[in-house]
């Protein structure tokens, strides 16, 4: 386990995911505008549609892969080479978000596959220090068998 090392690392950007102690209940964190009923990731300082306040909102941990690529040129921020990126359709809120995909899943990727959120030390921050990044890893095909987001 790399949990010890992870604890010393900071998230690449603060406030974009959260987990209760022990790693349970890991989820992406974004925003929700109560006036427009729109969800955001990441959370914007105000709602671009009504300019109202955007509340912090858990966005769950599961979704479906909309599209992806494996990047084979020299990676930025010390990411593994090659590394994979995808757009993920999150369950429950309609958001399509960019995310890293698990380094060990590169040969298993397929549009439409089920994914769940993970967090680990992946690459470095802008200052070159190792940091935590959220990423998505393959999940069981039936949502009922996976972790259910609480949205």
């Amino acid at each position: 386990m790399q949990a010890d090392r992870d604890q010393q690392c900071q998230p690449v950007v603060p406030g974009i995911f959260r987990a209760s102690s022990g790693g349970q209940g890991l989820e992406l964190v974004g925003g929700h505008c109560p006036a427009c009923h729109r969800y955001y990731f990441p959370r914007p300082p105000r709602c671009p549609y009504c300019l109202g306040q955007v509340e912090e909102q858990g966005l769950g941990a599961t979704g479906t892969l909309y599209t992806y690529t494996v990047v084979r040129v020299r990676p930025p921020y010390g990411l593994p080479s090659p590394y994979a990126l995808g757009y993920v359709d999150l369950d429950g809120n309609g958001l399509r978000v960019l995310g890293l995909l698990a380094p060990e899943s590169l040969d298993k990727l397929e549009i439409g596959m089920r994914l769940r959120l993970a967090v680990g030390q992946l690459g470095c921050d802008v200052g070159g220090a190792p940091c935590l990044r959220p990423y998505f890893e393959p999940a069981p095909p039936h949502p009922s068998q996976g972790m259910q987001p609480d949205v």
């Binding site: 690529t69 921020y77 359709d89 309609g94 890293l100």
Partner: protein, 381 residues
């Protein structure tokens, strides 16, 4: 509102210009454009200078004033424009507005980059953006569009390769192209992988270079031989809606529709297109947004040769960004350079016979799965 005309174009070949500095390259392109227009530099009453990377790479700002003073142009309003890959075409948009509004009789746009230096990594959406920090680089954005287009429409690797093969074939007829050696679909697909499914020969290289255009009012155009009418200049930023449809680019469709509306023209009226083929899949997406084919049919259009010279609607007769290289400040101007040469029927072996309507399309920046800017310019002779 005055009509707007294109009076002159100038360009230096896009290459790795190791020994040259940006201001000199831009000054040379500007001098060529003025010479081509036959308009005295003293009549230029507004100037735009476009560059996407200069401030980042050299911490050099307000470069435009230096470029214009090389030509003895001073005292007039000069604007420095940065708008990612559409920096040059955004300059044209602004210059056209100024002339249409009567704020200028003669306006120039000069653009260039000196970006073939080790400090230049892959283009991204901006260092502070979350997407960038999650590893998004520009080729990856287009690779993900390609993957989605393949999944939804059955677009094939061979169809994407056909775009690169076609543009390289056109480039062989263009002395201004940087890469003119013919390539096969096998070469394209066997070139080193960049971001799956895109290989190196499907991604435009960066380049050093500069280009310039001189625009003028109808009054000045009357005294200027060979002036071309600018029938439309359209510029849209992204809508940033979530979710974005990555196989049908809304911002691309919206900008093209606006340009057709402004010009009172339709896709069938076009004789040629220079479009932003930064990646093979991009050209395919642009065919669809431009209405050259039905959504999803862009790959087939390329593979059938319909967009090749000799086909019904030649796209990128210059060889495009894929063959020219891409210095963003100059790219939109280089596209208009090609339209000018074609509409004056001076394109030699790559001439589109009888060309009278040409369209230049440019797209840049990346935000929330959308583009930050898209420009379309339509010229007629």
């Amino acid at each position: 509102m005055s009509d707007v005309y294109l009076a002159g174009v100038g360009m230096i070949p896009f290459r790795v210009h190791k020994e040259r500095i940006l201001v000199d390259m831009a000054g040379e392109a500007a001098a060529l454009a003025l010479q081509d227009s036959g308009i005295d530099p003293g009549r230029v009453d507004m100037g735009f200078f476009a560059s996407a990377t200069t401030a980042v790479l050299y911490k050099d700002v307000t470069v435009g004033q230096n470029v214009y003073w090389q030509l003895g142009i001073n005292r007039i309003p000069i604007f420095n424009v940065e708008n990612a890959c559409t920096s040059g075409s955004t300059g044209i948009y602004l210059a056209c507005n100024a002339i249409a509004a009567g704020q200028a009789e003669v306006a120039m746009v000069v653009g260039g980059e000196k970006m073939c230096v080790p400090e230049m990594g892959l283009l991204n959406s901006g260092a502070t953006e979350l997407d960038t920090q999650l590893g998004l680089v520009t080729p990856a954005s287009f690779a993900m569009r390609a993957a989605r287009h393949m999944a939804e429409f059955g677009t094939t690797l061979e169809q994407m390769a056909a775009v690169a093969v076609k543009n390289r074939r056109h480039a062989a007829l263009n002395p201004m192209a940087q890469f003119s050696k013919p390539i096969s679909a096998e070469d394209v697909l066997a070139s080193p992988p960049i971001a799956d499914p895109l290989t190196r020969l499907q991604c435009c290289p960066i380049a050093d270079g500069a280009a310039a255009v001189v625009l003028c009012s109808s009054r000045v155009a009357k005294e200027t031989a060979g002036a071309l009418r600018v029938r439309a200049w359209a510029y849209c930023t992204g809508d940033y809606q979530n979710p974005q449809d990555m196989a049908r680019w809304g911002t691309d469709y919206r900008t093209c529709a606006k340009a057709y509306e402004l010009a009172g023209l339709k896709p069938g009226d076009l004789d040629l297109v220079e479009c932003h083929d930064a990646f093979t899949i991009a050209e395919i997406l642009h065919y669809e947004a431009l209405g050259l084919c039905e959504p999803g049919q862009g790959g087939r259009l390329a593979a059938e040769g319909q967009t090749a010279l000799g086909g019904p609607i030649p796209v990128n007769p210059s060889g495009g960004l894929l063959s020219r290289g891409h210095p963003p400040g100059a790219t939109g101007l280089a596209q208009v350079w090609e339209l000018a040469v074609q509409l004056r029927h001076q394109a030699g072996p790559r001439q589109v016979p009888g060309a009278s309507v040409g369209l230049a399309h440019c797209m840049g920046g990346d935000k929330d799965g959308d583009s930050k800017s898209c420009t379309v310019i339509i010229l007629t002779n």
